[in-house]
């Protein structure tokens, strides 16, 4: 054992350049992987530790209506004596200041005692527990988010009008707690007392509001059992029961999805880095074959020789973790800061012991697995060749190396599943990655085969460069693959961002998007609203009824919420599926399709409905909603609207481009069925410039204070800023991949220069200048970078197109500037890297090699 460690250490010490590059390369891959893993652990830790504060209670019941007496009694039966309850109502509404400005806000109307857990952090009063501010509950006061100060031009002591009531601003909420269901809110929050809610007159007029009952159980209560009993007792789909864990998961879900995805992208960087390390190690072993044969001839067993390198790799893996962990320590606060907006409150990031162990495990195992083909070489080494003058003991090629990489591929697959936290996403990513790698490898191999012939009659440097590319195909294809994958990643994410920006067209005044989106329009407001806006010269557009429905039966079977225990489910696939299934749904009716809709299968709903007939009502169902319910054409569902059950049959499956911000619904019913149902309306205002938009919004708030108005541009910008944050994080991982690719390129060029040292010096003896040889290197690696990045860009365009077409509502446009920039950068970096790597050999005096021989 001693000998193994001593020899391994000797190998590290005596091959410092190899060791350094191996460590740097592996550390590069580990940085991204560990940063994201730490971020995920920190997020999980926050959610599990602070979930009670996020919800503000042990559990909550949330519905778009108050609970009926019967439902309340049921709940009371399940909760133990001593349980405390507090009620909070939240909804969107417009807030108007005396300055004349108005904004959409989220109103949180709370009873004294909210929240049970966590504290409000106010600018003037500091930390306030249980909103124990009597003034807020006894007077018409309001606490607001600080951004409203500028948006509404309102300050402390000034008044804000919500609905029909005026409130005095008494503090700014720096941090709030409780009812944090959303990763990010559409609008800033304002807090009032529930005692004052009636004065706004908003709920009386049917404003869509969530009624929350929050509960604090006595100590030592069997929380899970109580929640389970309530869930079983109240099966109505429009009532949702949130344990604090479930609320925590919801609050952190955007970041969870992002970090799942980021960790997959970071795996590419890790893969490339380990590929690079594997490549370096392979070169190292090839160089070492004679030494290993000597060792064997001196009496070492093959096991001893192999274990020397296994230990060497282990030590190098351990060393690679140290700089990686230091980088993670530096990078983590930056990543966390950049992703701040994706979580209701900030995440305190840290490196957990689990992450450190994972780092060591990955670094060591990745090194071992990628080294298998090289270690295989030692196994088949024949030391008897040492007696033969011309033969090199390890100079043989064998296709069996392909078998030796299978464990590494399987381990990578396992890691993608583990990191994505989703069987579906993990597999999809792995397959996409594998297919991309195979395509790059195959096309790379094909191109390199042809490149030599293509430049057969060119200048000497070009001819030599292409010959070198074509004849050292394994080196070239490895570099091609590494750079191509890096470019693919780097270009893929911004393509989405640009496509989305283009689709939203925020900088384009004549863009297709509506400017204002109006909701909570009551039936009796429709006519006067239309009249007012017509008079102003900005007629109401896309006026659409909004009806709340409850699913009773699907394909003849009573619809039940998912049996799966969502709160404890850590599987992302399950969480996504359940959320979609649990959601009560909105429906509407209209006699035409909007521009943003497309019928995929079936026919348009019939425009007339005979209420006396037995025929079920015809409905059109959105594609993804249909998938989640497991229904298709001609399937029957039963919906309850306003207490009346309605039998319906699916006559078409529709695709909706949600990014259009047009009033769209999961279910569209044929006209004539829901005319008498209780409903509100939504509508849009289009073609307004900034001034007209502000004026129209203020006018509407003055005349119709209960109508809520969403500024589409502001919302679009918010979405884009979230997308930008996500893109930034993803690009950071992609840049790590490119860096890993460049280290591979450095290793390849260094290795090639070392291998061709004799040839290079011979060329010098024959009259080649340093400039000629440098040009050859520049052309060779410039061509490699160019081909790899063009192919990477093309593949990323193809992948983004396919994903946009099938997953992201057909939002795809190609942007040339970014890929051109990437290609230019990658080619330049490839040339510089190769030049740096080969400089020593190129500058060498040719007689030095002659002296050696």
């Amino acid at each position: 054992m001693n000998f193994l460690f001593r020899n391994a250490w000797r190998e590290i010490k005596n091959n410092r350049t190899f060791s350094l590059f191996y460590i740097v390369n592996l550390a590069l891959g580990l940085v991204g992987f560990l940063t994201i893993d730490s971020f995920k652990s920190s997020l999980d830790e926050k959610v599990s530790l602070e979930s009670r504060s996020l919800l503000g209670a042990d559990f909550a019941i949330r519905a778009r209506r108050p609970l009926t007496q019967e439902e309340k009694e049921k709940v009371d039966n399940f909760i133990p004596p001593g349980t405390k309850e507090v009620k909070v109502i939240d909804f969107y509404s417009m807030a108007a200041a005396s300055s004349g400005r108005s904004r959409l806000v989220k109103v949180v109307a709370m009873e004294p005692g909210f929240p049970f857990y966590g504290k409000f952090e106010l600018k003037l009063q500091g930390k306030v527990a249980k909103s124990a501010n009597e003034l807020l509950h006894n007077r018409e006061n309001i606490w607001i988010y600080p951004e409203l100060r500028n948006q509404l031009e309102v300050d402390l002591g000034e008044m804000i009008k919500i609905g029909e009531a005026q409130f005095r601003v008494t503090d700014f909420v720096m941090n709030d707690t409780g009812l944090q269901f959303q990763p990010a809110e559409l609008a800033p929050k304002v807090f009032i007392s529930k005692n004052n809610l009636a004065k706004t007159n908003l709920l009386l007029q049917g404003n869509t509001a969530f009624h929350n009952s929050l509960y604090k159980l006595p100590l030592n209560s069997e929380e899970e059992k109580i929640i389970e009993a309530i869930e079983k007792g109240i099966t109505t789909p429009d009532i949702r029961i949130f344990s604090h864990q479930k609320a925590g998961h919801r609050a952190g879900r955007l970041l969870n999805y992002l970090s799942d995805f980021l960790s997959l992208v970071s795996l590419v960087a890790l893969f490339l880095a380990t590929l690079g390390s594997g490549y370096l190690f392979h070169g190292f072993i090839v160089n070492k074959t004679t030494d290993i044969a000597i060792l064997l001839s001196l009496g070492a067993t093959k096991r001893t020789a192999i274990f020397t390198y296994v230990i060497q790799l282990m030590l190098l893996g351990l060393f690679a973790c140290l700089p990686a962990l230091v980088c993670v320590l530096l990078l983590l606060p930056i990543v966390s800061g950049a992703l701040q907006g994706l979580m209701p409150s900030s995440v305190d990031v840290f490196i957990s012991t689990q992450t450190i162990i994972l780092a060591f495990l990955v670094a060591i195992l990745a090194g071992w697995l990628l080294a298998l083909p090289s270690l295989q070489k030692i196994k088949r080494l024949n030391p008897a060749n040492l007696f033969r003058e011309a033969a090199r003991p390890g100079s043989f090629t064998d296709k069996k190396w392909i078998l030796a990489i299978i464990p590494a591929v399987l381990a990578f697959w396992g890691l993608t599943l583990f990191q994505s936290n989703s069987w579906k996403l993990g597999n999809l990513f792995f397959i996409c990655f594998l297919v991309s790698a195979i395509i790059l490898y195959a096309i790379g191999g094909f191109c390199l085969r042809g490149v030599e012939k293509l430049f057969k009659r060119s200048s000497l440097s070009l001819r030599m460069a292409t010959r070198s590319l074509g004849r050292n195909r394994s080196h070239s294809v490895t570099g091609f693959l590494a750079l191509g994958l890096g470019v693919l990643l780097l270009n893929l994410i911004p393509q989405f961002q640009n496509s989305l920006e283009n689709e939203l067209g925020l900088d384009n005044p004549s863009g297709k998007l509506p400017k204002l989106f109006l909701f909570d329009i009551q039936e009796d407001q429709v006519e006067p609203l239309q009249d007012l806006l017509k008079k102003e010269g900005h007629p109401l557009d896309n006026l659409t009824p909004w009806v709340r429905g409850k699913l009773l039966k699907v394909k003849g079977k009573p619809y039940r919420m998912s049996e799966a225990k969502e709160p404890n489910s850590t599987n992302s696939d399950e969480q996504r599926r359940n959320r979609f299934r649990n959601r009560g749904f909105n429906l509407s009716y209209r006699d035409r399709l909007l521009e943003s809709e497309e019928i995929l299968r079936g026919r348009m709903v019939s425009l007339s409905f005979d209420p006396t007939s037995d025929k079920p009502a015809e409905i059109s169902v959105e594609q993804k909603y249909a998938e989640s319910l497991g229904i298709d054409l001609n399937d029957k569902i039963e919906i309850e609207v306003g207490g009346v059950p309605i039998a319906a049959v699916v006559v078409n499956i529709r695709r909706v481009r949600w990014t259009s911000f047009q009033p769209n619904f999961f279910v569209q019913m044929q006209p004539g069925v829901l005319d008498q149902a209780p409903k509100t309306f939504i509508a849009t205002l289009n073609h307004l410039n900034a001034e007209q938009k502000e004026d129209s919004q203020n006018l509407l708030v003055r005349n119709f204070p209960t109508i809520s108005i969403l500024d589409v541009e502001r919302t679009g910008k918010k979405i884009l800023s979230i997308v930008e944050q996500m893109t930034w994080a993803l690009q950071l991982m992609a840049i790590l991949s490119i860096m890993a690719g460049l280290v591979i390129l450095y290793s390849i060029s260094r290795e090639k220069a070392r291998e061709q040292r004799w040839e290079i010096n011979l060329l010098k003896i024959l009259g080649a200048s340093f400039k000629d040889l440098r040009n050859q290197v520049r052309i060779e690696f410039g061509l490699l970078g160019l081909c790899a990045s063009i192919l990477g860009v093309s593949l990323s365009a193809l992948v983004s197109f396919i994903l946009a077409e099938y997953i992201f509502d057909k939002v795809w446009t190609f942007h040339l500037a970014l890929p051109l920039g990437i290609i230019f950068t990658v080619v330049t970096l490839s040339v510089l890297t190769a030049e740096w790597a080969t400089k020593k050999v190129l500058l060498e005096k040719p007689n030095s090699i002659l002296q050696e021989n």
């Binding site: 000998f3 000797r10 091959n15 004679t290 001839s297 009496g299 067993t301 008897a384 040492l386």
Partner: protein
Amino acid sequence: MQTLLDLKKITKTFHQGEQRVEVLKSVNLSVKPGERIAILGQSGTGKSTLLSIMAGLDHPDLGTIEVNQQNLASLNQDELSRFRSKHIGIVFQQYHLMRHLTALENVGIPLELQRIPNSLEKAREALNLVGLSHRLAHCPAQLSGGECQRVAIARAMVSEPSIILADEPSGNLDQKTGEEIMGLIFRLCKDRQQTLILVTHNQDLAQKCDRTLILSEGMLKQDVHKELK
């Protein structure tokens, strides 16, 4: 006297494409302890193959080889390695030193493999014997050809094996250095009672050995001229 090395009917065949080349045809050889044997032969006659079979680095297709009454065929790869480190020392024509190790480390390796304590101390003594006490910390690239071969000799002898296999040890050296090296090998083998099997083209060197064998057409024959002398 007991036989130290016993080769019986050793046959080895190589395939070059479709062509079958029988390099060794039923070779027999018995070597006694302390004996010095020279093997002569033209290039490509199988001298190196014979040496690698004697070293247990290659297997014969037919025949048996015994070293110290131990049949090498009965040992598995690991046992064979351990046996070699203990009983056989090899000196190659191209020295075959480990490039990144110092002279001292190169010589210490066989001892370390046998887990012999104070390996560096013993390696230092061995290098002292070959006159390289002033070059301990030098790597092969910093040594001359003669010095490299001295290091290789020290390495072959350091674990005091009973047999030294030397494959043209002076083949890469100038005449003077070659003679010095050979003198060193002969002296050390004599002092330590070690058996030397020397593959060489050099008739003069062969003359200094107890027996000279000629490998020709796959067969090992006694040197008739030397016998007559």
